[in-house]
Symmetry: C2
Subunit: 560 residues, 2 copies
């Protein structure tokens, strides 16, 4: 953490105004790292799938969150000291003081406060526990304004655009919609540094499937991957995804596919397999919208922390928004072949209807033709009036009708990634120490593609002509799009260490020989080996090295 602050990965927000818990800044290196993780996420979960990415507002009108249930269910129970007026999140305070896991309901909290006579840290008594909604609220427009909230998840922006989206995908399931961006959670009293944030970054994928076909076309790609699964009974399995589905540990193939793909993504960005597990939510732990949910958990200095949640949200959200908006959010799914169905239809008897209903007879006959008959009488509605008709007014005919398909409200499988925790975990899992030339070295073994500074250019000596030549190479590499730094301060060894510490994979050194034959050396962070290459080859060699994990020794003459 000290290194993260000092070297420019993460900073406390509003530091000059004494800070504010639950907010932090992505400093230059942390920002680059997170952006690069996002890009790799996009490759795995957008480009490589039948998935489109959208970007919807962070402010949402209250209708959205009434329908989604967040206005009522997205709450924690708070307790306020009547003496010092400090407010705590009740379950966290109880866990901290009594080491007791307690459900976050008003009644449960009240009972614990009474039974244990729990007091505030100042010695004061707590008042009645009260619910606190975790959404930040605001108003849109002038005057009284319209009630609105900052989104607690990116997902709702996808659900309410579902009609447009299913049209974009020509109503063909399965398809997915992704969103990367900020979400907000007005935590009562966040204390865990970068782990519990009021403003955070999510990457969410909503994958819409036919409720009766929870399969994924690419499941074979991951089926034989072996994972660590902890099921809802706390039993640990080392098992392939295929077996896990077969044994019913994971409810369906789509969930299993995204668990597998999530693991592959996490490994690709440098999270350690042995510090990664997938844990199933217990029945009392699930969000209000989920039926089955698996968390990817990583082992960090905070213990095991949730970094991804993979939930089967069923049709909960689409059905709620359909109900509250009055819009049809189903998809028409054609049957493989149209189905024949026998139906009873009414044939109007005009000679009976005419005398009985006069001018209305024609409209009644038209309504009758549309009705399916089930008993001896039929009710039709004409100009708002309901009219019952006995068999005197119609004949019954049995017909065969073809039905081409049915309307279906898709289910949704949601892998939801906490990018801040993932970034932090990548940093922790990449941090390493070794011994180089008899001295301990701190080195950040980031995957090359993730390095915030991709290449450092170092003049061997901090004077002409070394410095000017180095600056020219910096200019060339910047124009070619590399995150490049120039550094001439301190001994060359000290400078190498400086870039090892922030995970820069390659250092270029301009030395005496540069002026003889136009070559420089490239040093590899991990092996500390060096090769000598022509300046004119630098751009393509660096591009090749940064996109792969190739050994530098294939690219030039070994140096030293």
């Amino acid at each position: 953490m000290e290194m993260l602050l000092r070297r420019g990965f993460l900073w406390q927000s509003f530091e000059i105004y004494r800070g504010m818990a639950g907010f932090f800044d992505y400093a230059p290196l942390g920002n680059n790292l997170r952006r690069k993780i996002e890009n790799i996420w996009r490759e795995f979960f957008v480009i490589d799938e039948r998935v489109a990415e959208i970007d919807t507002p962070l402010i949402g009108i209250e209708e959205v969150f009434i329908a989604s249930g967040h206005a009522t269910s997205f709450v924690d129970t708070a307790i306020e000291c009547q003496n010092c007026h400090r407010v705590y999140r009740a379950d966290h305070y109880i866990k901290e003081k009594l080491n007791l896991e307690v459900e976050s309901s008003i009644d449960a909290i009240k009972e614990v406060l009474e039974v244990y006579d729990l007091k505030c840290e100042c010695g004061g008594k707590f008042g009645e526990p009260f619910p606190m909604n975790l959404m930040f609220s605001t108003k849109i427009g002038a005057g009284k304004g319209k009630n609105a909230y900052l989104r607690p998840e990116t997902a709702q922006g996808i659900f309410i655009a579902f009609k447009r989206l299913s049209n974009y995908f020509r109503e063909k399931l399965p398809f997915g919609v992704a969103q990367i961006g900020r979400a907000f959670r007005n935590e009562i009293s966040p204390r865990q540094g970068v782990i519990r944030l009021r403003e955070f970054n999510q990457a969410e994928l909503e994958f819409f499937v036919h409720p009766a076909e929870k399969t994924h076309p690419n499941f074979r790609e991951v089926a034989s991957d072996v994972l660590t699964l902890v099921d809802k009974f706390d039993k640990t399995h080392r098992i392939t995804l295929e077996e896990a589905v077969k044994k019913g540990i994971i409810a369906n193939e789509v969930l299993a596919y995204f668990i597998g793909k999530t693991r592959r993504f996490l490994l690709a960005i440098g999270i350690k397999d042995e510090k990664l597990r997938f844990r199933q939510h217990k029945d009392d732990e699930k969000a209000h919208y989920a039926t089955d949910c698996w968390d990817a958990e990583a082992l960090t200095s905070y213990g095991w922390i949730e970094i991804v949640g993979i939930a089967d949200r069923t049709d909960y959200d689409l059905s709620r928004h359909a109900k509250f908006s009055g819009e049809d959010l189903s998809i028409f799914v054609p049957y493989p072949k149209p189905i024949s169905v026998k139906k009873k239809r009414a044939i109007p008897k005009m000679n009976a209807l005419g005398p009985a209903f006069k001018s209305k007879a024609k409209k009644i006959a038209e309504a009758l033709e549309k009705v399916e008959v089930s008993g001896e009488e039929v009710e039709v509605e004409v100009d708002g009036e309901k009219i019952r008709l006995t068999r005197d007014f119609f004949e019954i005919k049995e017909v065969e009708e073809e039905i081409a398909g049915e309307r279906v409200v898709p289910h949704v499988i949601e892998p939801s990634f906490g990018l801040d925790r993932i970034t932090f975990t990548v940093l922790e899992h990449s941090f390493d120490k070794d011994v180089v030339e008899g001295e301990e070295r701190k080195v950040l073994r980031l995957k090359r593609r993730l390095a915030p500074v991709e290449v450092a250019v170092l003049p061997l000596l901090s004077r002409e002509p070394f410095t000017t030549r180095a600056m020219e190479i910096v200019g060339m590499l910047k124009k070619a799009g590399f995150y490049t730094e120039y550094d001439d301060s301190g001994s060359i060894g000290r400078r190498y260490r400086r870039y090892d510490e922030i995970g820069t994979p390659f250092c270029i050194t301009i030395d005496h020989q540069t002026f003889e034959d136009g070559t420089v050396t490239i040093r590899d962070r991990d092996t500390t080996g060096q090769v000598r290459v022509k300046i004119s080859d630098l751009t393509w060699i660096l591009r090749e090295l940064l996109m792969s994990e190739k050994n530098i020794e294939g690219f030039g003459e070994k140096f030293r």
Copy 2:
């Protein structure tokens, strides 16, 4: 606009809940386009400069905006109808109804309402004009909470992190800090579609310079570029940047450099030079923090609209935050050589001090030695007590002292980009019609690198084995990281048109010959020409074509 909605560039937000003015969704194609524009911005304004990018919270505590002036100065004047209670932004309503440009002050608005007896559209009378702050407000935490706002610009997050940032750059000017992200403006009654938004995307660069050295190391790169400048007296110039600085039309070289670089960026993403101008703010038009400001304006269907603002904010923000936070936000700038300064110093006379001040004499002597003497008497402070000393108690010695440098509060030049308007302008300037095979064709001539769908894979016939072979190629291209679509619906000509309309630069067609020799055709959107290439060469050829504007004819045998 119809095409943007229909094909999935932009959608109205909250559509199923009857929408909300000032918000829209980036649909899949619009999202990809904007992200790609952001990446090119990063190449121009971050990677290619001595600039670091950070990412700070969207929620800001009120201290920040009290210091920045937004809490008091970021207001519009509103008027409310006393009959229908509709609220309007006063200057816009007056412009619309009376075609009158009016200053947005309470007094000016009041006068116009009276003189012209202006009524609401419903015929009602307006009440007193009132100021409305344009920041969205919220509360952080439980209970009463802490006052906070959604940021009205990304810039403040940079200014308040200035201490950390100048340390990151080792206190060496000039350096820049960039931020890309959301900002918010609670417009009173936005009406202009995507042009006036309540939630929008900014890319801002704060470039910190020595106040006495407003030069840029790379100015030569753009100095001879010829631009259209409209100065604050409404005079238009076609002139090089070098001349514009020389003649004093542009105040300094840093401003001129970023005007030039902004133009180069805008051309690189496809904005037309002949529909681009730089207009200087008039003296009454500038933001509360700016001394000189130039807008890049683009000609669109809305007329000339501001898409970039390039302002000299001087030391306004840093000085305000220093004052309000009590932190020193200056940088120590060493002189090229230390400067010698003559000073008069006091030499204590102990034989006079001792008898007069007893036990305090020693402390007084120590204090005296630190004082610079200007007159015949000196005042020192010892243990909180102020003591005046006459020449009886000290001698005067003249000494030479060296000063290594001075503390300076940097000035900041800020190019601030409105990404939503830029994205919209790119779409408008790329939209084209031509005639292909006797039929009118709509084509979006996006730069290849910006295309939201990079390649479409089309089986000539919508049946086996064409479809399976096409899907295999789709899988291969997706794994290689291309935004790829598969399409087998409709005639091949109609499908080409579909991808021309959304700016897809290349279509791959699987035809009969594919099964004979493993080749496919690549079709170029702009020329509609085709070449035949091996499937195994597709990946590198597409990568090469998408990164450049090379002609496809160099990559394969001409087809047809």
